[in-house]
Amino acid sequence: MMKRRKKSFSDFESLDKKKRRVKFDFILFFLVIVISSFGVLIIYSATRETLPGGVTDPQYYLKRQAIWLAAGIVICAAVQFINYRKIQRYWWLILFIGVFSLAAVFIFGYEVHGSKSWIDLKFFTIQPSEFSKIFMVISLAAVMSKWKGEKVYRVTFKKVAISSVIALVFILLVLLEPDYGTALVYFIVYIGLLFLSGANFLYLLSALGLTAGGFFIALKSGLIKQYQLDRILVFLKPEVSSEGAGYNLYQSKLAIGSGGFLGKGLFLGKQTNLNYIPEHHTDFIFSVIGEELGFLGAVMVLLVLVVIVWRCFYIVSNSSDSFAMLLSSGIGFIILSQVVINIGMTIGIMPIIGIPLPFLSSGGSSLVSLFLGIGLVENVYIWKEVRKDYEIAYQELK
């Protein structure tokens, strides 16, 4: 039975087109479009007065983000034409592209804020570490899906070790840029996938333990300087500090707090428009939302983001296809980790780590890669639904 079904499934593409029914998670897609469009608007609000980077056109960032959004939708649509099974089959190619593009940064890249994470492609610049998150998820999902069928407790150390080597290659390359924030996201995504792969908790614990040990050694050996650690951990100091390392956080808290229940109104954020919030169109975009749209706006945005994450998991929570399940969940982990770290940073409950807020921070690489990810989630959903249709048709035929 098992064999026959598998074989029949591979014939799927030859199935009569009329019998194909378009299945698509409209909730997910709708929310993603809504939140990204809102992102374009809030970026406009954040940049129209302050003109970061010395631009002269108040609509510069608005237009740019709109173009990236369009590009994201196109990519999201384009991905639908590839059956995710094919992606699974060529995972090693994707692994290679991911690793190569990260390595390319060291040859072609240039520095922004002290990390070499950008490549200039003449017409636009890209940040490979954003796209490689997706590539790592695909690679790991492919590797881990092979554990399928084995009892959870029987996943061997060797197999887990292989997956951790793949993750480690990605993480180390990002760390070398150095981009600690993004590396942290990679790490969380890996732990998340390991968790859902069904691996023994012992492996999870040892992965966490090893990381903690590595971090401790890095700190002791001077690889990570004490002042860097202080900057990251400034949020732990209860007293409000408006100078030095605490400045960004202080201004962010002032902006969000002063927003009150309803906010100061779109385009009317004083702290935003007078340029008090640093990086307010990228890493601190949530401060702008908090200031201009208040508690209500901030909670709405948070809810939409959480529902998006939840859809990524929910779609595959009953899936018997391990690769589909891990792929979609991996994208969920990417979004979730960034939402928690970014928002947590702006409200002072997480360390100061510069990573973008998904769908909302200004920046093409982040937005387009997220749409690629959402495209893959939809892909999984579509083809899984289609397969269900096929199975029904097959049953009927029989």
Partner: protein, 616 residues
């Protein structure tokens, strides 16, 4: 899929819910519970405030002639604690303001950096410099261009002692309680005279600009702007034309007196100073008040130079900043009106009782002879006033002392009734209250010297002729004479008649026509007045000065005084009023080291009456 995975999905779902709750709680705490606090902190962080100077009120004379006005001037101000730390900036400022680096540094350092946050570096700046500073404002942090109002004087140094002057407020004053509210570095404040007395009325209300700054401290938006309110205007009792004439007469006459020689020493009179007060006795209005030497308040506009300041304070200059009209001097015989009134009131003398002046009064015993300036022979009280007989008044003073063994200190009592020994309450600061010596005073003054601390009959005898422990201001003397003209009604002298606010509403000056009935005996005053009229007539001590004055048309009453001071030439006084039947003017003249009052001071009063009554 195993159930194990399902559990793990459930764990993720719970995790999502926990994350959601934590973030929402945190947002709730920040935005709803502490929202107002954060909003306050945020607005504090981005708003700044600065003031806009208000024009100071004008000062007009009684006829509405503008004497002092406010002139707007552009100035460069600096925040010391910012600029002092930036040597390049100070160099650049030195170049463009054409001031030495050292000058700038001193100016900023002098005004205690911790306290004053704005110091004016230079006033009256060229437009080109203003434009340069404005265009390069990013190169000059802590430097701003502000409007300040300086004083402009339409009559040069006229009435300068009355008016006072304005200066930039300094550190000590900023710290004091008086300037606690509404003052900041760079403000102009009134010093002495009316400028000081009416500071709160003249200064106006500053404008305020509340504005937002970006994180670099650059202003970006004005939130609130209130425009400054001009200070109130003062309308004086002074007649500026009379003031000018009196000043001219005084200065010219002093030059003339300096040509004369003291017969005893064959030295020219030095006349280092003098004062004239012209009062309207019916109201207490001061019509003119002159002090010599004088100063030009123009010197203080925009900050006085060290050289000018040193000159003003040099002892050779004889204190031109002092208003001698309210400083006290020994009055000499001009004080005899008090002794005369006391004698009449205590029934020691009467209209007819005569005394034979032998030139030497021995009432204190053979060992203490007191001399009169002349052997007058027999005279009554009117004659004694007319010829200023010391012998007569020694006698009166002695009897006042002897009455009840000086238990009531009668001479002092009458001196105080006539206003001596206490301020007249005129509305300008630093008025001297003078001195009427008595037992208590002497005891205190000679504390620890038992031989000197008792009040002797000789002390009262000396005081009776205006010598000894007696100090009187020309203004007090003028007030005492107006008490005579009013038959015992005392008006406090004052200078500000009206105050007019920016909307044109008029308020009476602070003192306006308050009076006090001293309950004096009119008959006694008339006896004294008869004597005073004779002073300017033939044989009187001021006869020479009024020889050519039409006394029949404008009868004048007056009293000369010649005060002797150890080691100095005599101080000359002449206190008077006219016309006698209905007095309109009280004129008091005092000259330091100028010889007898009859020859030095009385001619000045005569010239003033000539001007006032339009006599050629």
């Amino acid at each position: 899929m195993g159930s194990n995975i399902k559990i793990r999905f459930k764990i993720i779902l719970y995790l999502l819910v926990v994350i959601l709750i934590v973030i929402i709680l945190r947002l709730y705490f920040m935005q709803i519970m502490s929202g107002e606090l954060y909003a306050e902190m945020a607005s504090e962080g981005i708003t700044r405030e600065k003031t806009v100077a208000a024009p100071r009120g004008n000062i007009y004379d009684r006829n509405g002639k503008l004497i002092v006005k406010s002139v707007p001037v552009t100035a460069v101000a600096a925040e010391p604690h910012i600029v002092l730390e930036n040597e390049d900036e100070m160099e650049a400022l030195s170049d463009c303001l054409n001031m030495s680096y050292q000058d700038i540094k001193e100016k900023l350092e002098k005004s205690n950096v911790s306290y004053i946050n704005r110091v004016i570096l230079k006033q009256d700046i060229d437009t080109s410099v203003i434009i340069y500073l404005a265009e390069n404002s990013n190169k000059f942090p802590g430097v701003e261009i502000i409007d300040v109002y300086l004083r402009g004087y339409n009559f040069d140094s006229l009435a300068s002692h009355l008016l006072g002057y304005t200066v930039e407020i300094d550190e000590d004053r900023l710290r004091s309680k008086k300037y606690e509210e509404g003052y900041e570095g760079g403000d102009q404040i009134g010093i002495t005279g009316l400028e000081e007395a009416y500071e709160s009325i003249l200064k106006g209300k500053k404008g305020r600009i509340v504005y937002e700054v970006n994180p670099l401290g650059m202003p970006v938006d004005i939130l609130k702007e209130t425009s400054p309110t001009r200070g109130n205007d003062l309308y004086l009792t002074i007649d500026i034309d009379l003031q000018r004439v009196v000043e001219e007469i005084l200065y010219r006459s002093i030059e003339e007196v300096r040509q004369k020689k003291d017969k005893d020493t064959d030295e020219c009179y030095r006349v280092p100073g003098g004062a004239v007060v012209v009062l309207d006795p019916k109201t207490g209005e001061v019509l003119a008040m002159v002090s010599y030497p004088t100063f030009n308040p123009e010197l203080f506009v925009g900050g006085i130079s060290q050289t000018d300041w040193d000159n003003l304070n040099d002892s050779e200059s004889h204190g031109p900043l002092h208003n001698r009209a309210i400083m006290s001097f020994p009055p000499g015989s001009a004080f005899k009106i008090v002794t005369a009134y006391g004698g009449l009131a205590e029934d020691i003398v009467n209209e007819g009782r005569k005394v034979n002046c032998t030139g030497t009064w021995l009432g204190l015993g053979e060992d203490f002879p007191k001399y009169c300036w002349k052997s007058h022979g027999s005279l009554n009280i009117e004659g004694a006033i007319k010829e200023s007989c010391n012998y007569f008044f020694y006698q009166v003073g002695y009897k006042l002392f002897m009455k009840l063994n000086n238990a009531e200190e009668l001479l002092q009592k009458y001196a105080r009734i006539f206003g001596f020994g206490s301020e007249t309450g005129i509305d300008i600061p630093y008025e001297d209250k003078g001195l009427v010596g008595d037992k208590e005073w002497k005891k205190d003054y000679f504390k620890g010297q038992p031989g000197y601390s008792a009040w002797f009959p000789g002390d009262t005898v000396n005081m009776a002729i205006g010598q000894g422990d007696l100090q009187v201001t020309p203004l007090q003397m003028a007030q005492a004479f107006s008490i005579l003209t009013n038959r015992g009604i005392e008006y406090s002298p004052y200078i500000v008649k009206d105050i007019r606010d920016t909307e044109g509403n008029l308020f009476p000056g602070s003192l306006g026509e308050e009076y006090k009935d001293l309950k004096l005996n009119e008959y006694f005053i008339e006896i004294i007045e008869d004597g005073l009229v004779q002073v300017v007539g033939p044989g009187g001590t001021a006869a020479g000065a009024f020889r050519n004055f039409p006394l029949d048309r404008i009868p004048v009453a007056g009293k000369t005084g010649t005060a002797e001071i150890e080691g100095r030439q005599d101080y000359g006084w002449f206190a008077s009023y006219a016309p006698v039947d209905s007095p309109e003017y009280v004129v008091v003249v005092m000259l330091e080291e100028a010889g007898s009052g009859g020859s030095s001071a009385a001619p000045i009063a005569e010239k003033i009456y000539r001007y006032i009554f339009n006599i050629d």
